[in-house]
């Protein structure tokens, strides 16, 4: 247990900050995912075939390709693509993107594909009468969405979103390949310098288990809150 002391000799503080980094990346990625699903869910539900096609190719491609490959594509291809765009505007210097941003965007795009499917399913299973009633009452579009559709959708979506959260949390371990110091990367560094990979990787597993366990407890509370009245 000497390994886990805080301070210069132990790895306790490093692993603590690494855990915070994992949480930060997971939350950022989840929010980016929500942003993507806010764009693609309406496209999926639209009656326009072309918009449907765009949204379907997004979810199908992202869910059909390994997460690691998406991360590699962003990490190795991302700065090249941005430099190419910048060069069109006359900027020719080297641009390096921060590992936190690349990682969060890559995981966020993956997470977004899963959340899009969840939101689509939730909206589709809301009773048609609810939509019709809103129209009959002549409610403004945003009020009808915020006050009628949104609460019902959240109730249906939260159990599945908790799965998406778990997938996202576990996917962040893959960002370690880009050098961002989260749990996995920190364990790799610690294992290398102490030559005790068994201890540090097992400890990383324990940290992930703790995170999944605690977040499930929190989400269960949310679930109870949003299923009131049903």
């Amino acid at each position: 247990m000497d390994f886990l002391t805080f301070g210069k000799t132990g790895w306790g503080d490093e692993l603590f900050y690494a855990t915070l980094m994992t949480i930060a990346v997971s939350i950022t990625a989840m929010l980016i995912g929500f942003l993507f699903s806010a764009i693609f869910t309406p496209l999926k539900l639209s009656s326009n075939k072309f918009l449907n096609l765009i949204a379907n190719s997004y979810t199908t491609v992202i869910r059909g390709v390994p997460e690691l490959l998406v991360i590699y594509l962003f990490f190795f291809g991302g700065s090249g693509a941005i430099m190419y765009v910048a060069s069109i505007f006359g900027y020719n210097d080297y641009i390096e993107i921060n590992a936190f941003i690349t990682g969060s965007v890559a995981i966020g795009i993956i997470s977004g594909a899963y959340s899009t499917e969840v939101f689509r399913g939730a909206i589709q299973s809301i009773d048609k009468g609810q939509f019709e009633a809103c129209k009959v009452l002549g409610l403004k579009r945003y009020i009808y969405f915020l006050k009628v559709i949104m609460p019902q959708m959240l109730r249906l979506a939260i159990p599945n979103l908790s799965n998406v959260w778990q997938i996202t949390l576990k996917d962040t371990s893959l960002i370690s390949v880009t050098g961002l110091v989260e749990i996995m990367r920190q364990s790799y560094i610690a294992a290398g310098s102490t030559r005790d990979p068994l201890f540090f990787y097992s400890f990383a597993a324990v940290l992930y288990l703790m995170l999944t366990f605690l977040s499930m407890k929190l989400i269960n509370k949310l679930e109870i809150k949003y299923s009131r009245g049903f």
Binding site: P66, L73, G77, G80, S173, L174, Y188, R195, T212
Partner: protein
């Protein structure tokens, strides 16, 4: 976009797909047995066995696959005693370590899928078997297992696709699967976009085939 590079890297990536398919099929077969075993343990009335099976699936579903591979590949080799046993012949190979990690991981998910399938079997089917005087053992093997497998096909199809994507992690323990080879080509050509997109296309094609295969099986074995 360098299309000629994409075309010239395709044969290399396709030959690497053989390793991906080998890893996938080996881990799925072993994982199915593990899953079936633990699903049966989960249904046991004995609370110790039940909890043990639950802990197994909880730990493997609650931690990233990457951690599991690293513990098995880098971690186990550290135990002096372990290296002197015959098991070391298997565990010193990254190929077998990857398969063992994948199998244990997919086994955990499979056990959950099969358990819920066993629990949702209509009691009438089992009662019908009993009233015909069929022994409990035969009811289990000839009625409960086939029905459970049919019911879990859609969920298991998703699991196969997830596992196929998971095999890309084999590249982190030096194996040259599709992702491993793609990364190697990128390190010599410096064209990440072209190579990773080609590799992604191969994975997507495999997802498409698995998806349709499962759909076909669902139709073939549907109850209607």
């Amino acid at each position: 976009m360098d299309l000629s590079l994409m075309a010239s890297s395709l044969p290399k990536l396709l030959s690497a797909a053989v390793i991906t398919i080998k890893l996938l099929s080996a881990s799925l077969i072993i994982g199915l047995f593990i899953g079936l075993l633990f699903a049966i343990l989960r249904l046991s009335k004995n609370s110790i066995i039940n909890r043990f099976a639950y802990a197994y699936s909880y730990v493997f579903r609650g931690t990233p696959l990457l951690v599991q591979i690293f513990i098995i590949y880098y971690g186990l080799g550290q135990i002096e005693y372990f290296r002197s046993t015959f098991l070391w012949v298997i565990f010193k190979e990254p190929y077998w370590c990857a398969i063992i990690a994948f199998a244990l991981n997919t086994g955990a998910y499979t056990s959950e899928i099969l358990r819920s399938a066993f629990q949702t079997i209509k009691p009438g089917i089992i009662e019908a078997g009993k009233s015909l005087g069929i022994s409990n053992k035969i009811i289990f093997y000839k009625i409960q297992i086939p029905v459970a497998i049919r019911q879990s096909l859609p969920a298991y199809g998703n699991e196969i696709i997830l596992m196929m994507k998971g095999t890309s992690l084999a590249s982190t323990v030096t194996l040259m699967d599709i992702t491993g080879v793609a990364k190697h080509i990128v390190s010599t050509t410096y064209k990440p976009l072209e190579i990773f997109i080609t590799a992604g296309g191969i994975y997507l094609f495999m997802t498409f085939i698995i998806h349709n295969l499962i759909k076909y099986l669902e139709k073939k074995y549907s109850f209607q």
